[in-house]
């Protein structure tokens, strides 16, 4: 298997030019294997019957629908997903053999991704609760408990998460890092093609620097195949579908809220105590009654 692609430059010096395309196949096969393996495993395990812990107190004042994602957040997610899908398809489908003009689509999608990400950063700093994405020690413990519970149905039920469970946060952060690698290197690589903004310059960086750029871009891309494939897979799994729906509709129902979330940490009740800033929770609270109506 070819992991790295190297070539002799015009002076006969060996230079790195990027990842081996075999890695694309590897990522596709690995993703498929994971999905199939997971499905088989779930079947063997007998599916998920979620034994939620007892709903805590204070559920009485809860609205029927609990807002989980604001419109802005959802819009971001879907635009970003579309960009990401276009990026992956334009990057790898030609490598896998189906040819079409992909370059312009790819960089335009890349710029779209960059724009959504920038917007997301600004939005989340200004209007969302950054803290809710913070991975605390407790999140890690919960994450492990959840994992143990899913592996061993007899294990004690995992404690309920705050707004975002550990695995979601972890996924988000991994995607952040990988996408950042892809975007940063992608921007550099755009300097090697003609765009309406500039004329290309192949020699802006040294051979070696370009090699690393391509390597990072390639590795990020290939990783994203796995990350996106896993994400989509879980999004359509029956036991997770309520979360997916929340990304469409914006809310989750009270039952899921109570079953999966710890109202202590994701307080959406009217009687909520301390409000942490004018973030998502405030939005949810403000709008929840209307949705109920």
């Amino acid at each position: 298997m070819e992991v790295l692609r190297r070539a002799a430059n015009p002076w006969g010096q060996e230079v790195l030019i990027g990842i081996g395309w075999d890695l694309v196949w590897l990522a596709v096969v690995a993703s498929a294997a994971f999905v199939v393996g997971h499905m088989v495993w779930v079947r063997l395990r007998g599916g998920f019957t979620h034994e939620a812990s007892e709903p805590g107190p204070g559920s009485s004042g809860l609205p029927e629908r609990v807002e989980r994602h604001s419109f802005a957040a959802r819009a971001f997610h879907w635009v970003m997903s579309a960009a990401m899908l276009v990026l992956l398809v334009t990057a790898f489908v030609p490598v896998l053999g189906l040819q079409f003009p992909w370059v312009t689509l790819h960089w335009v999608a890349g710029l779209a991704l960059l724009a959504t990400v920038l917007w997301h950063i600004v939005h989340s700093i200004g209007w969302q609760d950054l803290g809710s994405m913070w991975v605390s020690a407790r999140d890690v413990r919960e994450g492990f408990a959840e994992l143990r519970q899913s592996l061993d149905p007899k294990a004690p039920p995992a404690p309920r998460a705050g707004k975002y469970p550990f695995d979601h946060k972890l996924y988000h952060h991994v995607v952040v890092v990988v996408s950042f690698g892809a975007i940063a290197t992608g921007l550099l690589m755009m300097l090697r093609i003609d765009t309406p903004f500039w004329d290309r310059n192949t020699y802006l960086l040294s051979d070696a620097a370009w090699g690393w750029t391509y390597l990072v871009h390639g590795l990020s891309g290939v990783s994203l195949i796995g990350l996106v494939a896993g994400h989509i897979y879980f999004a359509i799994r029956p036991e997770k579908r309520w979360i997916t729906w929340s990304m469409v509709r914006g809310w989750i129902d009270r039952e899921h809220y109570l079953a999966h979330h710890d109202p202590e940490r994701w307080n959406v009740g009217v009687d909520a105590g301390a409000r942490r800033g004018a973030g998502a929770i405030a939005d949810a609270v403000a709008r929840a009654p209307d949705q109920d109506a």
Binding site: P10, I17, P101, R200, N201, W210
Partner: protein, 332 residues
């Protein structure tokens, strides 16, 4: 690894006598196989040790691939028919002079005797960076050396660049596109017919190949339909010297005219992109228009709209514009 050129490395040579055997061999050896026609492009690659197929399948001994058959007013030209045979054929000359002109402008008499029509349309680009064995996009790398700010690119493209800026070197290709020819491509799964316009592939779609041929594919024949038989044709090739030279820019055009008006037109230019560029807009513009100097001027201007020259090939814009004008003028 040190580089050495001009010394052909060993390969396994197969000399099938039938199309079936050739197809089977191509299928069996896949990416490791190379179809050898006249060898004028192939041998260059072999001698330079840049392309190193393990297996070479010489098509020269397959009688079914050679010769020109009539099909109504149209012609089926076997892929292995030599360029001189194409240029000299009475039927080609009387019906499709455009193709005869194109074939007779290729390189030199020796090369035309040896080179085949199938090979001519399937040949690789002559970009001097790529031909030097540099690891450019077309060679599977991640760079286009020819489009670097200080690069030497007078012979490169002004249209259809997508990372790679190489041009298609074939003289017969634009003529065949203008004649609405089709290519019969055979592989183990069967035969498919590809329109000449789709046979040539730009780097946006496939940066490592110039044609729709994939490993395992054999081009068996080139069919020129009757549609344009006996039309008015214009072919002009501009090159640095009178023979033994690839085109800087070539124009191939076909017209049907009546009463000084152009009823139907095909205008194709080569040497300006990685594929022969059929100028649909120009064709629309001139169709129904008088074959006048004004039409020619407008056609030339329209032809180069959107063209984007590199550092040293700005002249190609003017050249392409002028050649299209001349083609349209010829319809008068």
């Amino acid at each position: 690894m040190a580089t050495i050129r001009d010394m052909m490395p060993a390969f396994e040579l197969f000399q099938p006598a039938t199309v079936e055997d050739a197809v089977a061999l191509l299928a069996e050896h896949g990416r490791e196989a190379w179809a050898l026609a006249g060898g004028l492009d192939s041998m260059d690659w072999f001698k330079d040790r840049i392309k190193r197929p393990r297996v070479v399948i010489d098509l020269g001994g397959i009688p079914d691939l050679t010769g020109i058959q009539e099909r109504g007013e149209g012609l089926d030209i076997g892929a292995m028919t030599s360029l001189s045979a194409v240029a000299a054929d009475e039927r080609v000359r009387s019906r499709f002079q455009l193709l005869a002109d194109a074939a007779s402008q290729v390189a030199t008499p020796q090369i035309r005797n040896q080179g085949t029509l199938g090979g001519n349309v399937s040949q690789d680009t002559r970009c001097w960076y790529y031909r030097s064995g540099w690891p450019c996009y077309r060679a599977g790398g991640n760079t286009c050396y020819a489009s670097a700010p200080q690069a030497m690119n007078r012979e490169h493209c002004i249209l259809g660049a997508s990372r790679c800026v190489a041009v298609n070197p074939s003289d017969t290709a634009p003529a065949l596109v203008a004649l609405d020819a089709t290519m019969d491509v055979r592989n183990r799964r069967g035969t498919r017919t590809v329109a000449a316009e789709d046979y040539f592939v730009g780097p946006a779609i496939d940066i490592t190949r110039m044609t729709a041929l994939k490993p395992g594919d054999l081009l068996t024949s080139i069919r020129v339909p009757a549609d344009w038989a006996g039309a008015r044709f214009y072919f002009e090739k501009v090159r640095d010297r009178g023979s033994w030279d690839f085109a800087l820019v070539t124009v191939a055009a076909a017209f049907r005219t009546a009463g000084g008006r152009i009823d139907q037109a095909r205008v194709v230019v080569n040497g300006v992109a990685a594929y022969p560029v059929r100028l649909h807009d120009v064709e629309r513009l001139v169709t129904g228009a008088p074959a006048s100097e004004e039409t020619a001027q407008a056609a030339g201007d329209l032809a180069v709209q959107g063209a984007r020259p590199l550092k040293y090939n700005g002249y190609k814009l003017a050249l392409m514009r002028n050649l299209v004008r001349r083609a349209v003028r010829s319809a008068a």
